[in-house]
Protein backbone atom coordinates (compact mmCIF):
# COMPACT_ATOMS: atom_id res chain seq x y z
CA UNK A 1 0.00 0.00 0.00
CA UNK A 2 2.69 2.48 1.07
CA UNK A 3 4.93 1.30 -1.67
CA UNK A 4 2.24 1.97 -4.28
CA UNK A 5 1.78 5.47 -2.90
CA UNK A 6 5.49 6.18 -3.15
CA UNK A 7 5.51 4.87 -6.71
CA UNK A 8 2.57 7.06 -7.64
CA UNK A 9 4.28 10.11 -6.12
CA UNK A 10 7.43 9.33 -8.03
CA UNK A 11 5.44 9.33 -11.25
CA UNK A 12 3.59 12.53 -10.39
CA UNK A 13 6.67 14.49 -9.25
CA UNK A 14 8.29 14.98 -12.67
CA UNK A 15 4.89 15.97 -14.14
CA UNK A 16 4.43 18.60 -11.43
CA UNK A 17 7.87 20.02 -12.16
CA UNK A 18 7.08 20.47 -15.81
CA UNK A 19 3.56 21.78 -15.16
CA UNK A 20 2.56 25.38 -15.75
CA UNK A 21 1.18 27.38 -12.84
CA UNK A 22 -2.42 27.38 -14.13
CA UNK A 23 -2.40 23.65 -14.58
CA UNK A 24 -1.16 23.17 -11.01
CA UNK A 25 -3.90 25.41 -9.65
CA UNK A 26 -6.51 23.46 -11.58
CA UNK A 27 -5.22 20.20 -10.19
CA UNK A 28 -5.31 21.55 -6.63
CA UNK A 29 -8.90 22.66 -7.07
CA UNK A 30 -9.80 19.24 -8.35
CA UNK A 31 -8.39 17.65 -5.23
CA UNK A 32 -10.28 20.10 -3.02
CA UNK A 33 -13.56 19.22 -4.72
CA UNK A 34 -12.86 15.53 -4.31
CA UNK A 35 -12.15 16.07 -0.61
CA UNK A 36 -15.40 17.99 -0.19
CA UNK A 37 -17.31 15.20 -1.92
CA UNK A 38 -15.80 12.62 0.42
CA UNK A 39 -16.68 14.80 3.42
CA UNK A 40 -20.33 15.07 2.36
CA UNK A 41 -20.44 11.37 1.60
CA UNK A 42 -19.12 10.44 5.05
CA UNK A 43 -21.57 12.80 6.70
CA UNK A 44 -24.42 11.15 4.79
CA UNK A 45 -23.18 7.74 5.88
CA UNK A 46 -23.10 8.88 9.50
CA UNK A 47 -26.59 10.32 9.44
CA UNK A 48 -27.86 7.23 7.68
CA UNK A 49 -26.50 5.09 10.48
CA UNK A 50 -28.09 7.34 13.09
CA UNK A 51 -31.43 7.27 11.28
CA UNK A 52 -31.39 3.50 11.20
CA UNK A 53 -31.92 3.23 14.94
CA UNK A 54 -34.25 6.19 15.25
CA UNK A 55 -36.34 5.02 12.31
CA UNK A 56 -36.72 1.56 13.80
CA UNK A 57 -37.81 3.02 17.11
CA UNK A 58 -40.16 5.46 15.37
CA UNK A 59 -41.86 2.68 13.43
CA UNK A 60 -42.25 0.78 16.67
CA UNK A 61 -43.83 3.76 18.36
CA UNK A 62 -46.15 4.42 15.40
CA UNK A 63 -47.24 0.76 15.41
CA UNK A 64 -48.40 1.18 18.99
CA UNK A 65 -49.93 4.61 18.57
CA UNK A 66 -50.81 6.28 15.26
CA UNK A 67 -50.45 9.73 16.79
CA UNK A 68 -46.72 9.21 16.97
CA UNK A 69 -46.45 9.56 13.20
CA UNK A 70 -45.49 13.24 13.08
CA UNK A 71 -43.07 13.24 16.03
CA UNK A 72 -41.65 10.02 14.65
CA UNK A 73 -40.87 11.55 11.28
CA UNK A 74 -39.41 14.70 12.81
CA UNK A 75 -37.08 12.73 15.04
CA UNK A 76 -36.13 10.34 12.28
CA UNK A 77 -34.90 13.08 9.94
CA UNK A 78 -33.16 15.05 12.68
CA UNK A 79 -29.71 13.56 11.90
CA UNK A 80 -30.26 14.75 8.33
CA UNK A 81 -28.99 18.14 9.56
CA UNK A 82 -25.55 16.54 9.57
CA UNK A 83 -25.66 16.28 5.79
CA UNK A 84 -27.01 19.80 5.42
CA UNK A 85 -24.08 21.19 7.41
CA UNK A 86 -21.75 19.04 5.37
CA UNK A 87 -23.12 20.60 2.17
CA UNK A 88 -21.87 23.96 3.46
CA UNK A 89 -18.39 22.54 2.96
CA UNK A 90 -19.03 22.43 -0.78
CA UNK A 91 -19.58 26.18 -0.90
CA UNK A 92 -16.57 26.85 1.28
CA UNK A 93 -14.04 25.22 -1.03
Amino acid sequence: MELELVNAMAQVAPILETMTEEAAAELAEGYALAAAAIAVGLAALGSGYAERGIGAAAVGAIAEDRDMFVPGIVLTVLPETLVIFAIVVIFLV
Partner: protein
Protein backbone atom coordinates in the same frame (compact mmCIF):
# COMPACT_ATOMS: atom_id res chain seq x y z
CA UNK B 1 -29.05 -7.02 7.42
CA UNK B 2 -27.25 -10.09 8.69
CA UNK B 3 -29.12 -12.89 10.43
CA UNK B 4 -27.38 -12.15 13.72
CA UNK B 5 -28.40 -8.50 13.86
CA UNK B 6 -30.84 -7.59 16.58
CA UNK B 7 -33.34 -4.76 16.74
CA UNK B 8 -33.50 -3.41 20.27
CA UNK B 9 -34.67 0.03 19.09
CA UNK B 10 -37.90 -1.23 17.58
CA UNK B 11 -38.71 -3.61 20.41
CA UNK B 12 -37.93 -1.04 23.08
CA UNK B 13 -40.13 1.59 21.50
CA UNK B 14 -43.09 -0.78 21.42
CA UNK B 15 -42.44 -2.18 24.86
CA UNK B 16 -42.23 1.25 26.45
CA UNK B 17 -45.52 2.23 24.95
CA UNK B 18 -47.15 -0.91 26.32
CA UNK B 19 -45.49 -0.43 29.66
CA UNK B 20 -47.17 2.96 29.91
CA UNK B 21 -50.60 1.35 29.61
CA UNK B 22 -50.14 -0.92 32.61
CA UNK B 23 -52.40 -0.31 35.59
CA UNK B 24 -51.36 2.45 37.92
CA UNK B 25 -51.53 2.54 41.67
CA UNK B 26 -54.77 4.42 41.43
CA UNK B 27 -56.33 1.74 39.25
CA UNK B 28 -55.45 -0.85 41.86
CA UNK B 29 -57.02 1.24 44.55
CA UNK B 30 -60.23 1.27 42.55
CA UNK B 31 -60.04 -2.46 41.82
CA UNK B 32 -59.60 -3.38 45.48
CA UNK B 33 -63.02 -1.98 46.21
CA UNK B 34 -64.79 -3.92 43.44
CA UNK B 35 -66.27 -7.39 43.32
CA UNK B 36 -65.27 -9.94 40.64
CA UNK B 37 -67.89 -8.79 38.15
CA UNK B 38 -66.91 -5.18 38.73
CA UNK B 39 -63.29 -6.03 38.08
CA UNK B 40 -64.25 -7.80 34.85
CA UNK B 41 -66.23 -4.73 33.76
CA UNK B 42 -63.32 -2.47 34.62
CA UNK B 43 -60.95 -4.66 32.64
CA UNK B 44 -63.30 -4.54 29.68
CA UNK B 45 -62.58 -0.84 29.37
CA UNK B 46 -58.79 -1.31 29.32
CA UNK B 47 -56.12 -3.38 27.65
CA UNK B 48 -58.02 -6.57 28.38
CA UNK B 49 -61.12 -5.68 26.37
CA UNK B 50 -60.67 -8.24 23.63
CA UNK B 51 -59.94 -11.15 25.96
CA UNK B 52 -62.84 -10.36 28.28
CA UNK B 53 -65.24 -10.13 25.35
CA UNK B 54 -64.03 -13.32 23.76
CA UNK B 55 -64.17 -15.37 26.96
CA UNK B 56 -67.21 -13.65 28.42
CA UNK B 57 -69.66 -16.18 27.00
CA UNK B 58 -67.81 -19.20 28.35
CA UNK B 59 -66.72 -18.13 31.79
CA UNK B 60 -67.84 -15.78 34.50
CA UNK B 61 -66.62 -14.27 37.74
CA UNK B 62 -63.09 -14.96 38.86
CA UNK B 63 -62.50 -17.63 36.21
CA UNK B 64 -63.22 -15.10 33.49
CA UNK B 65 -60.70 -12.69 34.99
CA UNK B 66 -58.11 -15.39 35.43
CA UNK B 67 -58.34 -16.71 31.88
CA UNK B 68 -58.48 -13.24 30.38
CA UNK B 69 -55.32 -12.33 32.29
CA UNK B 70 -53.53 -15.42 31.06
CA UNK B 71 -54.57 -14.86 27.46
CA UNK B 72 -53.53 -11.24 27.54
CA UNK B 73 -50.18 -12.06 29.09
CA UNK B 74 -49.58 -14.71 26.45
CA UNK B 75 -50.51 -12.30 23.66
CA UNK B 76 -48.08 -9.63 24.82
CA UNK B 77 -45.18 -12.00 25.45
CA UNK B 78 -45.73 -13.76 22.14
CA UNK B 79 -45.50 -10.36 20.49
CA UNK B 80 -42.14 -9.79 22.12
CA UNK B 81 -40.75 -12.97 20.60
CA UNK B 82 -42.29 -12.15 17.25
CA UNK B 83 -40.73 -8.68 17.08
CA UNK B 84 -37.28 -9.43 18.29
CA UNK B 85 -34.49 -10.80 16.16
CA UNK B 86 -31.04 -12.24 16.59
CA UNK B 87 -29.35 -11.80 19.92
CA UNK B 88 -32.26 -9.97 21.46
CA UNK B 89 -34.60 -12.87 20.63
CA UNK B 90 -32.23 -15.26 22.29
CA UNK B 91 -32.05 -13.22 25.48
CA UNK B 92 -35.82 -12.74 25.69
CA UNK B 93 -36.59 -16.37 24.87
CA UNK B 94 -34.32 -17.57 27.64
CA UNK B 95 -36.49 -15.85 30.19
CA UNK B 96 -39.86 -16.58 28.58
CA UNK B 97 -39.14 -20.30 28.51
CA UNK B 98 -40.44 -20.31 32.02
CA UNK B 99 -43.89 -20.38 30.46
CA UNK B 100 -42.89 -23.42 28.45
CA UNK B 101 -41.95 -25.05 31.73
CA UNK B 102 -45.30 -24.03 33.17
CA UNK B 103 -47.17 -25.41 30.16
CA UNK B 104 -45.36 -28.72 30.09
CA UNK B 105 -45.97 -29.12 33.81
CA UNK B 106 -49.64 -28.31 33.36
CA UNK B 107 -50.00 -30.85 30.56
CA UNK B 108 -48.17 -33.58 32.46
CA UNK B 109 -50.21 -32.95 35.59
CA UNK B 110 -53.39 -32.89 33.53
CA UNK B 111 -52.62 -36.23 31.94
CA UNK B 112 -51.62 -37.64 35.32
CA UNK B 113 -54.97 -36.69 36.80
CA UNK B 114 -56.97 -37.67 33.69
CA UNK B 115 -58.19 -34.16 32.97
CA UNK B 116 -59.88 -33.61 29.62
CA UNK B 117 -57.90 -31.91 26.83
CA UNK B 118 -60.20 -28.86 26.96
CA UNK B 119 -59.57 -28.41 30.66
CA UNK B 120 -55.82 -28.62 30.18
CA UNK B 121 -55.93 -26.31 27.22
CA UNK B 122 -57.67 -23.52 29.11
CA UNK B 123 -54.99 -23.60 31.77
CA UNK B 124 -52.09 -23.13 29.38
CA UNK B 125 -50.33 -19.79 29.06
CA UNK B 126 -49.28 -19.73 25.45
CA UNK B 127 -46.42 -17.31 25.94
CA UNK B 128 -43.28 -19.37 25.64
CA UNK B 129 -41.23 -20.59 22.77
CA UNK B 130 -43.20 -23.76 22.05
CA UNK B 131 -45.60 -23.03 19.22
CA UNK B 132 -49.34 -23.57 19.33
CA UNK B 133 -49.25 -26.71 17.19
CA UNK B 134 -46.86 -28.46 19.56
CA UNK B 135 -48.89 -27.39 22.57
CA UNK B 136 -52.10 -28.68 20.99
CA UNK B 137 -50.50 -32.00 20.20
CA UNK B 138 -49.24 -32.22 23.76
CA UNK B 139 -52.68 -31.53 25.14
CA UNK B 140 -54.15 -34.32 22.98
CA UNK B 141 -51.52 -36.81 24.13
CA UNK B 142 -52.75 -39.87 26.03
CA UNK B 143 -49.73 -40.59 28.16
CA UNK B 144 -46.83 -38.81 29.78
CA UNK B 145 -44.52 -40.81 27.58
CA UNK B 146 -46.11 -39.30 24.49
CA UNK B 147 -45.49 -35.80 25.83
CA UNK B 148 -41.85 -36.62 26.50
CA UNK B 149 -41.63 -37.99 22.98
CA UNK B 150 -43.17 -34.83 21.48
CA UNK B 151 -40.64 -32.64 23.26
CA UNK B 152 -37.66 -34.69 22.15
CA UNK B 153 -36.53 -32.11 19.63
CA UNK B 154 -36.70 -29.18 22.05
CA UNK B 155 -34.34 -27.98 24.75
CA UNK B 156 -36.31 -29.97 27.31
CA UNK B 157 -35.99 -33.25 25.40
CA UNK B 158 -32.89 -34.72 26.98
CA UNK B 159 -33.51 -33.87 30.64
CA UNK B 160 -37.12 -35.05 30.37
CA UNK B 161 -36.10 -38.34 28.86
CA UNK B 162 -33.65 -38.94 31.70
CA UNK B 163 -36.28 -38.06 34.30
CA UNK B 164 -38.91 -40.21 32.63
CA UNK B 165 -37.17 -43.41 33.68
CA UNK B 166 -37.33 -42.30 37.27
CA UNK B 167 -40.98 -41.40 36.83
CA UNK B 168 -41.69 -44.87 35.51
CA UNK B 169 -40.18 -46.58 38.53
CA UNK B 170 -41.58 -44.26 41.20
CA UNK B 171 -44.81 -43.14 39.58
CA UNK B 172 -44.30 -39.62 40.93
CA UNK B 173 -44.24 -36.42 38.90
CA UNK B 174 -41.60 -34.72 41.04
CA UNK B 175 -38.57 -35.93 39.03
CA UNK B 176 -40.13 -34.70 35.79
CA UNK B 177 -40.96 -31.31 37.27
CA UNK B 178 -37.55 -30.90 38.84
CA UNK B 179 -35.93 -31.82 35.53
CA UNK B 180 -37.93 -29.10 33.76
CA UNK B 181 -37.03 -26.43 36.31
CA UNK B 182 -33.42 -27.40 36.27
CA UNK B 183 -33.28 -27.35 32.46
CA UNK B 184 -34.80 -23.88 32.49
CA UNK B 185 -32.34 -22.43 34.96
CA UNK B 186 -29.39 -24.10 33.32
CA UNK B 187 -30.30 -22.66 29.94
CA UNK B 188 -30.85 -19.26 31.49
CA UNK B 189 -27.17 -18.58 31.94
CA UNK B 190 -25.74 -20.97 29.37
CA UNK B 191 -23.12 -19.50 27.00
CA UNK B 192 -23.50 -16.05 28.50
CA UNK B 193 -20.26 -16.31 30.45
CA UNK B 194 -19.54 -13.53 32.87
CA UNK B 195 -19.43 -10.31 30.87
CA UNK B 196 -18.10 -7.46 32.95
CA UNK B 197 -19.65 -4.42 31.33
CA UNK B 198 -22.48 -3.30 29.10
CA UNK B 199 -26.13 -4.29 29.19
CA UNK B 200 -25.40 -7.99 28.99
CA UNK B 201 -23.37 -7.91 32.19
CA UNK B 202 -26.39 -6.43 33.91
CA UNK B 203 -28.67 -8.99 32.30
CA UNK B 204 -26.52 -11.76 33.75
CA UNK B 205 -26.44 -10.00 37.10
CA UNK B 206 -30.19 -9.78 37.03
CA UNK B 207 -30.62 -13.48 36.27
CA UNK B 208 -28.17 -14.32 39.03
CA UNK B 209 -30.26 -12.25 41.39
CA UNK B 210 -33.33 -14.14 40.24
CA UNK B 211 -31.62 -17.47 40.91
CA UNK B 212 -30.32 -16.26 44.28
CA UNK B 213 -33.76 -15.13 45.33
CA UNK B 214 -35.26 -18.39 44.17
CA UNK B 215 -32.69 -20.30 46.23
CA UNK B 216 -33.24 -18.04 49.22
CA UNK B 217 -36.97 -18.48 48.94
CA UNK B 218 -36.72 -22.26 48.72
CA UNK B 219 -34.28 -22.36 51.61
CA UNK B 220 -36.47 -20.16 53.79
CA UNK B 221 -39.52 -22.23 53.01
CA UNK B 222 -37.67 -25.44 53.83
CA UNK B 223 -36.26 -23.98 57.03
CA UNK B 224 -39.66 -22.69 58.04
CA UNK B 225 -41.65 -25.80 57.31
CA UNK B 226 -39.07 -28.04 58.95
CA UNK B 227 -39.82 -30.64 56.29
CA UNK B 228 -37.32 -33.42 56.04
CA UNK B 229 -36.26 -32.89 52.45
CA UNK B 230 -32.83 -32.83 50.94
CA UNK B 231 -32.12 -29.17 50.12
CA UNK B 232 -29.62 -30.18 47.44
CA UNK B 233 -32.53 -31.43 45.34
CA UNK B 234 -33.91 -27.93 45.10
CA UNK B 235 -30.64 -26.13 44.71
CA UNK B 236 -30.26 -24.19 41.50
CA UNK B 237 -26.81 -23.60 40.20
CA UNK B 238 -25.63 -20.24 38.88
CA UNK B 239 -26.34 -17.86 41.72
CA UNK B 240 -23.72 -16.07 43.80
CA UNK B 241 -25.36 -16.04 47.21
CA UNK B 242 -25.05 -19.71 48.11
CA UNK B 243 -23.15 -22.70 46.93
CA UNK B 244 -24.65 -26.13 47.34
CA UNK B 245 -22.85 -27.10 50.53
CA UNK B 246 -23.61 -23.77 52.15
CA UNK B 247 -27.28 -24.06 51.37
CA UNK B 248 -27.53 -27.56 52.80
CA UNK B 249 -25.84 -26.39 55.98
CA UNK B 250 -27.90 -23.24 56.34
CA UNK B 251 -31.31 -24.80 55.86
CA UNK B 252 -30.97 -26.52 59.22
CA UNK B 253 -30.63 -23.23 61.05
CA UNK B 254 -33.16 -20.55 60.28
CA UNK B 255 -31.40 -17.65 62.03
CA UNK B 256 -28.02 -18.17 60.43
CA UNK B 257 -29.72 -18.47 57.07
CA UNK B 258 -31.31 -15.05 57.45
CA UNK B 259 -28.03 -13.68 58.70
CA UNK B 260 -26.22 -15.07 55.69
CA UNK B 261 -28.54 -13.19 53.35
CA UNK B 262 -28.19 -9.99 55.37
CA UNK B 263 -24.43 -10.18 55.48
CA UNK B 264 -23.89 -10.80 51.80
CA UNK B 265 -23.21 -7.27 50.67
CA UNK B 266 -24.82 -7.84 47.32
CA UNK B 267 -28.47 -7.71 48.31
CA UNK B 268 -28.18 -6.42 51.83
CA UNK B 269 -28.98 -2.81 50.93
CA UNK B 270 -31.68 -3.55 48.47
CA UNK B 271 -33.55 -5.91 50.74
CA UNK B 272 -32.75 -4.29 54.05
CA UNK B 273 -36.33 -3.34 54.89
CA UNK B 274 -37.57 -6.80 53.98
CA UNK B 275 -34.81 -8.49 55.91
CA UNK B 276 -35.56 -6.49 59.02
CA UNK B 277 -39.10 -7.68 58.83
CA UNK B 278 -37.91 -11.23 58.32
CA UNK B 279 -35.61 -11.07 61.33
CA UNK B 280 -38.46 -9.86 63.43
CA UNK B 281 -39.64 -13.23 62.32
CA UNK B 282 -43.03 -13.29 61.05
CA UNK B 283 -44.33 -13.27 57.59
CA UNK B 284 -42.59 -15.21 54.87
CA UNK B 285 -45.13 -13.89 52.38
CA UNK B 286 -44.11 -10.34 53.13
CA UNK B 287 -40.52 -11.26 52.53
CA UNK B 288 -41.34 -12.88 49.21
CA UNK B 289 -43.20 -9.77 48.15
CA UNK B 290 -40.24 -7.67 49.15
CA UNK B 291 -38.04 -9.88 46.98
CA UNK B 292 -40.38 -9.38 44.04
CA UNK B 293 -40.41 -5.67 44.60
CA UNK B 294 -36.63 -5.56 44.79
CA UNK B 295 -36.32 -7.47 41.51
CA UNK B 296 -38.78 -5.14 39.84
CA UNK B 297 -37.01 -2.02 40.98
CA UNK B 298 -33.69 -3.49 39.99
CA UNK B 299 -34.90 -4.22 36.47
CA UNK B 300 -36.26 -0.67 36.22
CA UNK B 301 -32.94 0.81 37.21
CA UNK B 302 -31.19 -1.30 34.61
CA UNK B 303 -33.59 -0.17 31.92
CA UNK B 304 -32.74 3.46 32.54
CA UNK B 305 -29.01 2.79 32.63
CA UNK B 306 -29.12 1.06 29.24
CA UNK B 307 -32.26 2.35 27.55
CA UNK B 308 -31.81 0.53 24.26
CA UNK B 309 -31.03 -3.01 25.29
CA UNK B 310 -32.68 -6.10 26.64
CA UNK B 311 -33.08 -4.44 30.06
CA UNK B 312 -36.12 -2.44 29.04
CA UNK B 313 -37.85 -5.54 27.72
CA UNK B 314 -37.05 -7.48 30.86
CA UNK B 315 -38.42 -4.79 33.09
CA UNK B 316 -41.63 -4.76 31.05
CA UNK B 317 -41.94 -8.54 31.28
CA UNK B 318 -41.61 -8.38 35.07
CA UNK B 319 -44.00 -5.48 35.41
CA UNK B 320 -46.61 -7.21 33.28
CA UNK B 321 -46.31 -10.43 35.25
CA UNK B 322 -46.72 -8.43 38.42
CA UNK B 323 -49.83 -6.72 37.09
CA UNK B 324 -51.42 -10.04 36.20
CA UNK B 325 -50.58 -11.44 39.60
CA UNK B 326 -51.91 -8.36 41.36
CA UNK B 327 -55.23 -8.41 39.54
CA UNK B 328 -55.52 -12.12 40.21
CA UNK B 329 -54.80 -11.57 43.90
CA UNK B 330 -57.46 -8.88 44.08
CA UNK B 331 -60.06 -11.02 42.32
CA UNK B 332 -59.31 -14.11 44.40
CA UNK B 333 -59.15 -12.06 47.56
CA UNK B 334 -62.54 -10.49 46.94
CA UNK B 335 -63.98 -13.89 46.13
CA UNK B 336 -63.04 -15.36 49.49
CA UNK B 337 -64.04 -12.20 51.29
CA UNK B 338 -60.75 -10.70 52.44
CA UNK B 339 -60.87 -7.12 53.64
CA UNK B 340 -59.43 -4.31 51.56
CA UNK B 341 -56.44 -3.95 53.86
CA UNK B 342 -55.68 -7.65 53.65
CA UNK B 343 -55.80 -7.58 49.88
CA UNK B 344 -53.57 -4.53 49.74
CA UNK B 345 -51.01 -6.49 51.73
CA UNK B 346 -50.98 -9.05 48.96
CA UNK B 347 -50.20 -6.55 46.21
CA UNK B 348 -46.79 -5.62 44.95
CA UNK B 349 -46.89 -2.10 43.60
CA UNK B 350 -43.89 -0.01 42.73
Amino acid sequence: MSAGASNPEFVNARVRSRRASLFSEEDYRKLVRMGPSGIARFMEETEYEREINRLGTRFSGVDLIEYALNRNLAKHFDDLLEWSEGRLYDLIARYLRKFDVWNVKTVVRGIYTDASPEEISTDLVRAGELDDATLDRMVEADSVEEVVELLSGTVFGEPLKAAYEEYETTGMLVPLENALDRAFYELLLEDLGRPTEGPEALYVEFLQAEIDFRNARNALRLARSGADLDPAEFYIDGGVLFDEAELSRLVGDYDTLVEHIVESGRYGDRLSAALDRLQEADSLIQFEHAIDEALLEYADTLSSVYPVSVSGVLSYVLAKEREVENIRAIARGREVGLTEAEIEDELVIT
